[in-house]
């Protein structure tokens, strides 16, 4: 592999600074052309994405869950009164025994503490989305930066970050989180941050770095360097934007991991979280309703199915996106 020196020598009399970019019309037209290109590649990608039925199905699932997340505050503001339907403090006075089976007033019944299961489910959807997306954003920003920097500079920087990533991959994350939650009080935000940092410096960084390596040897990087682009400029304007499609893909996988980890830890009762899908199953479990099997299905099925559905939707959506980003996986037509 050709590794050009990071800085070409500058000759006397030659300005090491690049000329200031042309302002006004030229720049505007450049932006417009870029936008058109991006739109076209988005259209192509979208067409490929539409071909995979699994991808569409998972997209639909994610949209449904997003609508559920939005619907909770609306319902709370209009139809549901806080005293009965609050996911944490509410109590269904209209039911004689708790947990009550589904009825018109409580479409998914109530939990052992008399709280409405549907309200819990909807309010948890929102926090799961926030958790997943925060973790994914943290992961992807760290991993993209680390990948681009490690690929561009190589040498010691590269060795350091890749050994660190190897180390993190070898750590069993759930076990580590269990230990952490024993020692500290973790809430949603801490959890998202920890998962994001572990993912960002771990496996995702390696994958993005290998992608960045193949970008680094492209002619336009060379051209940018010859034109006098600074290292910062090349990494920020030329390498990172080309990493973004792959980053987006790994965002999807991180969301799955984060929601899953949260559910496990909440189920074990180790998180400082008021309501989540994991907590719902935890409540049913500590009350001894889980081995009742199908009799108390509304205590476990909605939350359990939501975890599985949303996780697999993000996972399968990621895989469908993989076919868009990675042309080698596409179906052959010969």
């Amino acid at each position: 592999m050709i590794t050009p020196p990071p800085n070409y020598p500058t000759f006397p009399g030659e300005s090491p600074e690049p000329p200031p970019p042309e302002l006004g019309r030229g720049r505007f037209r450049l932006a417009l052309a870029r936008l058109r290109l991006a739109l076209r590649s988005f259209k192509n990608g979208w067409a490929i994405f539409l071909e995979s039925r699994i991808g569409l199905l998972s997209l639909a699932t994610i949209v449904i869950f997003a609508l559920m997340a939005i619907s909770h505050p609306i319902l709370m503001a209009t139809v549901w009164d806080a005293g009965t339907y609050d996911p944490v403090t509410g109590y269904a006075f209209d039911q004689i025994e708790q947990p009550a089976p589904p009825s018109w007033r409580h479409p998914l019944g109530t939990d052992p503490l008399g709280r409405d299961v549907l309200s819990q489910l909807l309010s948890s959807t929102r926090s799961e989305f926030i958790l997943g997306l925060t973790a994914a954003l943290v992961t992807v920003s760290i991993a993209t930066t680390v990948g681009a920097v490690a690929a561009y500079y190589g040498g010691l920087v590269d060795a350091f970050f890749m050994r660190l990533a190897d180390l993190i991959i070898a750590l069993p994350a759930i076990s580590l989180l269990i230990v952490l939650s024993a020692l500290f009080r973790l809430n949603f935000f801490h959890l998202a941050l920890i998962i994001g940092v572990l993912g960002g410096f771990g496996g995702t960084a390696i994958i993005l770095k290998s992608q960045a390596l193949s970008i680094k040897v492209k002619p336009y990087i060379e051209a940018a360097r010859v034109a006098g682009g600074s290292q910062f400029h090349i990494i920020l304007v030329h390498i990172i934007p080309n990493l973004l499609p792959l980053s987006l893909l790994y965002m999807m996988f991180t969301v799955t991991g984060a929601i899953f980890a949260e559910a496990i830890l909440s189920f074990l009762g180790l998180l400082d979280v008021r309501m989540s899908w994991g907590i719902m199953i935890h409540t049913a479990n500590t009350g001894g309703y889980l081995l009742g099997g199908t009799r108390y299905w509304w205590l476990i099925l909605p939350a359990g199915a939501s975890i599985t559905l949303l996780c697999s939707a993000f996972y399968l959506g990621g895989r469908a996106l993989d076919e868009v980003v990675n042309p080698r996986l596409r179906r052959q037509y010969d």
Binding site: I169, V179, L290, Q332
Partner: protein, 383 residues
Amino acid sequence: MTGYLVRRGGQIVLTLFLIVTLTFFLVQAQPGDYAAFYAFNPDLPAEVREQIRATFGLDKPLWQQYLIHLKNTFTGNFGVSFGHFPRPVIEVLAERVPRTAVLFLTATVASFYTGFLLGKAIAWRRGGLLEYTATISGATLFTVFTPAFALMMIWVFAFKLGWFPVGKFLDPLVWRSAEVSANYVFGFMLLTAAAFTVFAFLALFVFRRAGRLGKGSLALPVILAGGLAIPLIWAFSGIGGLALDILKHMVLPIATLTLISFAGTMLLTRNSMLETVREDYVMAARAKGLPEKLVRDRHAARNALLPVVTSLVYSLIFAIDGSVIIEGIFSWPGTGMTLLQAVRTEDLPLVMGAMVFIGLFALIAHMIVDVLYVYLDPRIRYQ
């Protein structure tokens, strides 16, 4: 190869050192004073307290404590467990590590094999019903909420159908009159399993060599005969019933762990197969008229195996984490359940010890995968 192994061994020691450091400083950074909590525990008699203070240097500054902790860890002295009071951590763990190893190893091998076979099949016939069913059910099992799924397995197979016991490692009613300990029987079971694996590999190897002379069909009958001999030997050993009891308790956790972890391998194999199928040598193999099955198994799948083995590390970690959860649900007394219990009861020495052992598991598994990779890919000979 030897040099490579030595280097990898060195890396493992380094990583283990980092894990120990991490757990030590995490415990130090937690709110509350670990040292005081440990040494001033009113349940401990005064002389034990003094002994602990001396062993762990709790009256010394932090950096000295750290050095003492390192020395203690690498000499196998993890302190005394709070929860299992007079027993040292290492003794608790030594009893439980083999159980986790069996759960984890069996499930990993089974899920890898299932995943590879299925992935191979669905990549070969794209777009069929099998692909959709396998992908969706695989991804569902992969992302299913593990505790709920495990509880469902218990409910269906143990509670409703009654085929297997509900959980735990053994049935006290069977063991009440037993003269040997559970670990004694379990050790012999491990030996048997190891001996049978070696025997099966040897038989395969010998008969594959002989197969070139035209006597290949004997391998399977010989292995089957060996497999049938095992129950016979156990039946006459006198502890066969006890072994059977442990075996019955093993089935459900192993099956659950296998089911949740085969999909990762399956989906990876599929992707990797889709890439190899386009290679020229596959077309060449087809062009010379080899049967489809041969092209798939010998030409495409063999090469598609490599990237799958590379990312086996991920699935191993997934399986280790999965086994922690599965052990918790099935009350399987292994390292994972020890970790969970210790975390719940704030048994910090046991938490640190169990975490070190789980890390060690991950690292050794990692190394085995690397060595396997060198064996599988002759192009790679680590210098």
